[in-house]
Point group: C2
Chain length 128, copies 2
């Protein structure tokens, strides 16, 4: 009995919001927001994503500039010094970005399903 | 009277079909297929896209391997020597890829419209 055909192909939509040549929001910036929300700290989030603290701040500044207001707020004093969290705008932007990703994937799904059937599964020829 | 707010932000979905770490189809490969269909020649298409002839063949081989059959056919002799065209499979793959792009964009449109309103137009502050 032949083994079931095992597909290894996946569709990856990457959504980027551009302002001219500048990427104001994309997968990397969205992941930074999500990781700051999770870790509550910019330095920890940057480390987890394998980027420098300076790089994380550059990305945040680019987003803040594009949206005209901060997406992340940080505490400078007291017991919460060093803590960071998303502002209401930052939360909204992240939710909308994830929704765009989900809806883009869902929109592409019917055509992707047709293309998927045309793709050869790894290590098997079309004639076996 | 204030000038109308002029937005400069655009959403660019990039769809990639992955097989593990290999991109078997993405914007670059789709553009190569489209340009070969238009120019009728791999060398001319490669030149128009700013890639080497060898690079174009590498991309074509990767696609042919993924789909198990050629997406482009070339003429080796007679008056049509050097001409290239998409096979029926190649045409189908390009049509489906463009459809995926279109549908992904359409799916993301409602959330993008909401995000777009949060973005600051270039050179104007939110308060003017």
């Amino acid at each position: 009995m032949p083994r079931a055909r095992r597909s290894t192909h996946v569709l990856k939509p990457r959504l980027r919001v551009l302002d001219g040549d500048t990427i104001v929001l994309g997968p990397g910036k969205a992941d930074l927001l999500a990781t700051i929300a999770r870790d509550g700290e910019i330095r920890a989030a940057a480390k987890r994503l394998g980027m420098s603290y300076m790089r994380a701040w550059t990305l945040l500044r680019e987003m803040n500039r594009a949206f005209g207001r901060p997406l992340v707020e940080t505490s400078r004093g007291g017991r919460s010094h060093g803590r960071a969290s998303l502002t209401p705008l930052g939360k909204r932007v992240l939710v909308l970005y994830r929704e765009m990703e989900r809806r883009a994937r869902a929109g592409a799904a019917p055509a992707w399903s047709k293309m998927h059937r045309l793709l050869r599964s790894r290590g098997k020829s079309r004639n076996t």
